[in-house]
């Protein structure tokens, strides 16, 4: 079995997100969907509910009065935002764990993932562009492939980074040379096996080489740019460091300038401070 096949044969080892959360992600994609089903599903998941309420009460979402039920939170925040809260809470346990092989202590990948998710939001705001519904979720989950490679297959990133540095290639390209697959493709396979929306899968799949993606996707462009900014900010950087090559085509398509990049980083930092309760401790039960 090739190393690539070995990676792909281990998808089922990674615990999937709670059913309620995956349902929330699907509903988030559909603007006409009714959130009632999510609320119902959540009511049977007390851990997730506790986390949703904690986040809904954080400064980031800025509810003036504390909310104590999911329904109340949904009324205050609106369907779209409450679904984002659910998605964030659902993704947290998946991406919060440490990844030894990539030298990421617990919480680091979570910080990075959250900063990419709020980064897509901040970018769209600064650029005055419409934010596709899938961008937030895609931002949260774009790096899940590192979990599969670094935890379940115990890939040692140290050897891969050595190759990347000596050849002056991106870390993802070095992963492909060593393993026959990179964390982007491994992550996309994982998300696909969880039956998540196509845009989320595609954004994860191509986030390090958007120029090679089969089609144009705004979600992908936003995730790529927010990822570059998040790496610049230094949050949740593992052994792979900043060893990635940004796409000029994405920068041009989005119209990124130094000013846009810096304004976005300001907003991301403020958002992360407001969301700090989410990072404080493993919440829930």
């Amino acid at each position: 079995m090739s190393r690539r096949d070995e990676v792909l044969s281990r998808l089922r080892d990674v615990p999937a997100m709670p059913a309620a959360a995956m349902e929330a992600i699907r509903v988030l994609q559909d603007p006409r969907a009714d959130a009632q089903a999510i609320m119902k599903a959540l009511e049977h998941d007390p851990g997730l509910t506790a986390n949703v309420l904690r986040l809904a009460n954080s400064a980031y979402f800025g509810t003036p009065r504390k909310v104590s039920t999911v329904r109340e939170a949904a009324v205050r925040l609106g369907t779209k935002r409450i679904l984002r809260v659910v998605v964030a809470c659902a993704a947290a346990p998946v991406v919060r764990r440490g990844i030894k092989g990539y030298d990421l202590p617990p919480g680091e990948l979570w910080q990075h993932s959250a900063s990419v998710a709020v980064g897509t939001d901040a970018l769209a705001e600064v650029l005055k562009a419409a934010l596709p519904a899938s961008a937030f979720t895609a931002g949260l989950l774009h790096d899940v492939g590192k979990i599969l490679l670094g935890t379940y297959l115990e890939v040692d990133a140290a050897a891969i980074i050595q190759l990347a540095v000596s050849e002056k290639i991106g870390f993802d390209e070095a992963e492909r040379r060593v393993l026959g697959i990179d964390h982007a493709e491994a992550g996309a396979a994982l998300l696909e096996s969880w039956d998540l929306p196509e845009d989320v899968v595609q954004a994860a799949r191509w986030h390090h080489r958007p120029d090679d993606a089969p089609g144009r996707l705004i979600t992908l462009d936003l995730v790529h740019a927010a990822d570059a900014l998040s790496m610049a900010e230094g949050l949740g950087i593992g052994r792979d460091g900043l060893q990635y090559r940004p796409s000029k085509a994405v920068v041009l398509r989005l119209g990124l300038t130094t000013r846009v990049e810096e304004l976005t980083l300001c907003r991301v930092l403020v958002a992360l401070k407001e969301l700090k309760d989410m990072f404080a401790a493993p919440g829930g039960r």
Partner: protein, 167 residues
Amino acid sequence: MSGLVGAPPAQQTVGISEMLVRSGGEDVLVTYSLGSCVGVAAYDPVARAGGLIHCMLPLSKIDAAKAAAAPAMFVDTGVPALLNALFEYGAERKRLVVKVAGASSLLDEKGLFKIGERNYTVLRKLLWKNNILIAAEDVGGQVARTMYLHMATGRTVIRSQGQERDL
């Protein structure tokens, strides 16, 4: 029970866009996740006054309101604030030992994300105008760094890619 013999010195974390200044003591100031941001450690061995700052962006004009609320976010407002706080603790310009870390970048030959480079340029210019030399630096490349300043001695340590070294 901090007076116990052999008790490790307390670590004080400096977050992104924050700074800490101390006079004397045994604390170790530390700032994590320096990517394109710049960390500046400044220490006067005679006054035993020292400080550490973690600036995210070069120029405050991008967002004046944020600069007023959090001057340490920007090099051009943060570093002067750091120096002034040190002078208030009795530090003198000519004795200050200033060390710099960070300013990394992606593999970005086309210069699409120049935050690190801009941070470093603005910092150098500012220190030069203030007649302050950089005693040592560990900047650039594609790595993230952690920077420590030991208040007892002024020792400055960089941790990156699983390795530690004195700066």
